[in-house]
Symmetry: D3
Subunit: 267 residues, 6 copies
Amino acid sequence: MTGTTLRELWDRGEDTLGGWCVIPSGFGAEMMGRCGFDWVCVDTQHGLIGYDQMAAMLQALSVTGTPALVRVPWNGPDHIMKALDAGAQGVIVPMVNTAEDARRAVGAAKYPPLGTRSWGPIRASLDVPGYSAELANGRTVVAAMIETPDGVRNLDEILSVPGVDAVYIGPSDLALGHGMTPTLNVTEPEHERLIKAILDGCKKHGVVAGIHCDRYETVRRWRDLGFQMFAMASDAALMRGAATAAIQEFRQGRPQRTAPQGGGGYA
Amino acid sequence: MTGTTLRELWDRGEDTLGGWCVIPSGFGAEMMGRCGFDWVCVDTQHGLIGYDQMAAMLQALSVTGTPALVRVPWNGPDHIMKALDAGAQGVIVPMVNTAEDARRAVGAAKYPPLGTRSWGPIRASLDVPGYSAELANGRTVVAAMIETPDGVRNLDEILSVPGVDAVYIGPSDLALGHGMTPTLNVTEPEHERLIKAILDGCKKHGVVAGIHCDRYETVRRWRDLGFQMFAMASDAALMRGAATAAIQEFRQGRPQRTAPQGGGGYA
Amino acid sequence: MTGTTLRELWDRGEDTLGGWCVIPSGFGAEMMGRCGFDWVCVDTQHGLIGYDQMAAMLQALSVTGTPALVRVPWNGPDHIMKALDAGAQGVIVPMVNTAEDARRAVGAAKYPPLGTRSWGPIRASLDVPGYSAELANGRTVVAAMIETPDGVRNLDEILSVPGVDAVYIGPSDLALGHGMTPTLNVTEPEHERLIKAILDGCKKHGVVAGIHCDRYETVRRWRDLGFQMFAMASDAALMRGAATAAIQEFRQGRPQRTAPQGGGGYA
Amino acid sequence: MTGTTLRELWDRGEDTLGGWCVIPSGFGAEMMGRCGFDWVCVDTQHGLIGYDQMAAMLQALSVTGTPALVRVPWNGPDHIMKALDAGAQGVIVPMVNTAEDARRAVGAAKYPPLGTRSWGPIRASLDVPGYSAELANGRTVVAAMIETPDGVRNLDEILSVPGVDAVYIGPSDLALGHGMTPTLNVTEPEHERLIKAILDGCKKHGVVAGIHCDRYETVRRWRDLGFQMFAMASDAALMRGAATAAIQEFRQGRPQRTAPQGGGGYA
Amino acid sequence: MTGTTLRELWDRGEDTLGGWCVIPSGFGAEMMGRCGFDWVCVDTQHGLIGYDQMAAMLQALSVTGTPALVRVPWNGPDHIMKALDAGAQGVIVPMVNTAEDARRAVGAAKYPPLGTRSWGPIRASLDVPGYSAELANGRTVVAAMIETPDGVRNLDEILSVPGVDAVYIGPSDLALGHGMTPTLNVTEPEHERLIKAILDGCKKHGVVAGIHCDRYETVRRWRDLGFQMFAMASDAALMRGAATAAIQEFRQGRPQRTAPQGGGGYA
Amino acid sequence: MTGTTLRELWDRGEDTLGGWCVIPSGFGAEMMGRCGFDWVCVDTQHGLIGYDQMAAMLQALSVTGTPALVRVPWNGPDHIMKALDAGAQGVIVPMVNTAEDARRAVGAAKYPPLGTRSWGPIRASLDVPGYSAELANGRTVVAAMIETPDGVRNLDEILSVPGVDAVYIGPSDLALGHGMTPTLNVTEPEHERLIKAILDGCKKHGVVAGIHCDRYETVRRWRDLGFQMFAMASDAALMRGAATAAIQEFRQGRPQRTAPQGGGGYA
């Protein structure tokens, strides 16, 4: 199913909320894709997802028309090209630390002359009328993760690499690499300072700024500053959070405002 | 990992809340098993789950020590025996309409002399010291679904069949079969009357009464009447409910009390 | 993706050509679904396809909007209900030999009051606005295979069972059961006579007549007589036929008119 | 099943036609392997195939005795060694652009002293009596893809690397990298010139020349020039081509010479 | 790969030893198939194996040419026909208790006129030149398990059913159903008496007698009496037995005669 | 299930015997995990195991509490991080030839400040109370394979890299790279000399010395010299060794001392 691409949403200046899949399941991905997110990311870095499941999940997301991204396990052309061929609209690439890293990521994601992506859009071309190298390059999104001291240090050069559509900040790795405790709930001033510095770089270079979040308040905080790309919770976290609330209700014998209402499956 | 069995929980008179899996994923099942439910059911009737995934999910639930049940697709010895051999502590058997149906279910679930289950506890015996036919018969749970007009009509005979540990009411089918709209949220007096009649039968025969629910209020309603076995929401429903709340927050720009707090995955 | 249902196509009086999947692959099914068939059948009887692959294939067919049928391995409520819950628009049921067999098939495929299908449309309801028991009963197709001497003998009674939408003739089994060699290429007069008798029964009862074919000439032959539902070749047969033609070209050093033109994949 | 190896076929000077698998299915691969191709390639670069499916497909191809190749996703020792250990007779390595790339590919594919392949022929040794490092090095085929401007530029050096058995041209990437539209149907003079230049290099260095094709005419064209290794269509392309022809027949009401004859599966 | 069928081995009067697979893995099955057993059984009753894995395992066994049997989970036409279509040479059918049960099993396994097997030998026909209903009926083996009091009682009638090639005794179920402890190591006189009675019945009716064993001594004991079909240990039992011996050696610091010699894998 | 870690076993000075999995199966891994090994390695280098199966196997090993290692296919951060995230306690890294290689392996396996492992312990943290970067770094094991001439040459530098917990010698590759025949049964003086040199280096640097073995005698030989980490046979080798012994017994008509006693599965 063809719809508006993520690149088009960003070009319109829209803020976008993503779903985040770590459970290896085509059906799970379809469920996430039907919720109404602006995009859904199949996380093959920290999710429990390998290639075969990723491919099934991208197929499942096609049913729903939601733009699908893949976070690749590492900045390698094999990972990036296979994700895009299988139908992802873009890739989130971990640990982009240098301009060379950024060029490597873009190179794998874009066809010549912008890059060196090999021609073989086995599922990528299926719902894209007039699919061509040029058209594909225009709609394929590369989000570079800036999440290490090197990445911060080389921010300006990284953001100068043509073809970097977005930066996606991993707050946990950013903290850990700078000697802080990994967390999505940013409280340390230094942690916040790093995030803002990256945001400033993005604004300067006209690159979409994205960040991984843990709850609505965090999303709002960064959105107010100008971020445009957010993920709020993984499928597993949503499920566990809601299940835990339900169990608490049951154990304590009184309803929780945070527990889910309705939708009990079938019996 | 061995722990308290579901049969033991019921013998202690405890009310039990179950998790309900419809997503075919070993990792998803492990996540559900780690939430703290009293039992988790792998739903191979209406869940999108076949045998191979069911087996992986039962293995995953073993990691967590949570008693695992399987709702079989139908009252057949193949389905029941394979689920139990693979490590389920019990089965939920749909559409038990007659005493003969009940005998058929119990027959498949219990070894001689109680039934005709074939000997081959390939995973069932793994964490059960001194596993024997007798011991297995004592800890294996059969929950018969009473959910049709025939089932209600033959209630007394069904409940008289030795080896029926519990009744699990499917409110939707019960409604549909009696000419009402399928729902877990019981509002029609006739619907409620049917449920209470089944409950009364259970009490009379000393059989645990269970029912599929859609939210805490529903659980509480039935629990107050004496039900002991509840499922509140499937993995997919929990996930979708929480995701929907999160998206609403984002779209409306203000927090929802029902949205999950914390737990954003990793980045 | 929602589109015109198969039931609607038939109601309009259209002749319908189906694709036939025997290769267990979600991607293969998506490819078949994108070819332009009126419907695609996932053959879990003689195809090498079990439940888990069937579910993935139904998901894949959803991407394409092509109505999906499942040929179940046998006339059992477990097979029929699980196929429909997973998103099939209908079932092709093998070896319907008696009115009782037909009632059994319809009973599993239709919700009360028409049948006893259990409520749990986990994927079936996803793209059907206002999904209800009544709506589902109206769009769910049951095609009974008449393919044995008993089936022919009881034709009239079988076709009188409410809820039988179509008959799907298996010419091979029909031949084999009547002492002839199994074939889709009907040359024996007695074989033809049996097929025409079934067709006459369908016309009399207003039931759609379908038949499994092996090539265009066979389709045309039956279509001219009034059949409305045809499958012409399985995915594996199409692939092998085209590959064999290609290899002949290569070995003989000259083009075959029957070999495929264009479409060489990617390199 | 042991048979003549691809290396032996080439040593005899035979032209070889390959089947090309992009559908992730062991059964699909077995079907392709039974068609009579000289070799079958499991395409894990642009095919929708990951490791687990590749391994099943190599096992399936063993049933048929057809030499199996794997196109690896990228020139990495992990991809190459795992494909060979799982039973591939050789690898097709994308984007070999420099002599260093070629040495890297050969290094991963050959045991010492020719390379640094790690010893662990878990399936590779199964049907090879007297399997040894030396014997394996002799029968394992490395086909380097020359398909970029750099590759063309460094052709002579690449072909001088010992252990490069064949070149496999990817016409689409070759075109794209040189500023032309990607196609297997070579019409641009510059495109043809590049291909001929590569062929000349192969002849000079005694390396087998191979090329990806889209139809018989293309195969013949290159075969007449001295190419020895061809793939003509993928499993998916063969299936879709034949299905499309069948549908056209049905829609237009008259037979197509290009449609498959016979082989309708079973019913 | 085609070889001597199991039916032919029995017709020659040979005693046959089978491998027994309970681990769901195509590679595991191939390993078992390469050991030199006369047949290998894929146990889908008590093994942890569902349809999709069974199909992959039958494909894997084809590589080795070893006749493959499937123990079906239950005496149902779906299970039997799908196993045979996928390439099994025969089925072992649990709990055949009556002549009607036997006719049901044979009916599903044999084409008309002997039975009602549906025509669709998708893999069954692949390596059988001139495959036809008659030829298939001659080479397809049905082994009925006599393992219950009813089965013993109706022995003579069961063995009179045409098409029952063999009886396969399940000593554990036989013991359990007669009030004894389930075991393959037959020590109780009554247990032995039952087994001998079944053997006598087989001899009288010219049916091959088979029995499940736990060690060589047990095999020899029954072989001396005239049994012709034995399985000695499952893949999992072989693996665990050998691993346990290896661990004992290590813990005790001295070699065990029962521990495996050589074959340490690769490193 | 949490238990003693492998790091703790080594810190206590214990010799440790590992199980070695090459069969891709969660159930197979669970069986190996239940045998009593000190650790079990999922071999994704030479085993027939890809990511999806590896993840299922690590989950299965969690049931048993046995420390799980993964041999990665190659020294890449994608392979190492994904194995650890999925729950492995450590990695065995092939072909560590230089100090740079060792730093690369340690860098991927350890969080900052020791390395650059990305934060996302999706299963790694599940049974580790108080999981933190520091705690994880302390319990995660890196075993570098020294198995090439370069590795031997750079031994001292490699062992000086902080974070290398163990060396795991691959005798076959070590032999092959030095011009000898690959074998685990070390008879050539030069082969032995190399192994002893590596052992001496380990002792000097306080690094655990491990080696892949083929039988008890080999284990004892190296254990007497001071090695602490051994694998003796893979799941497939154990199974095949025991099966072969069983078949020999049957063919020769007399028991073998090396054949397994008892444990015949179920029937």
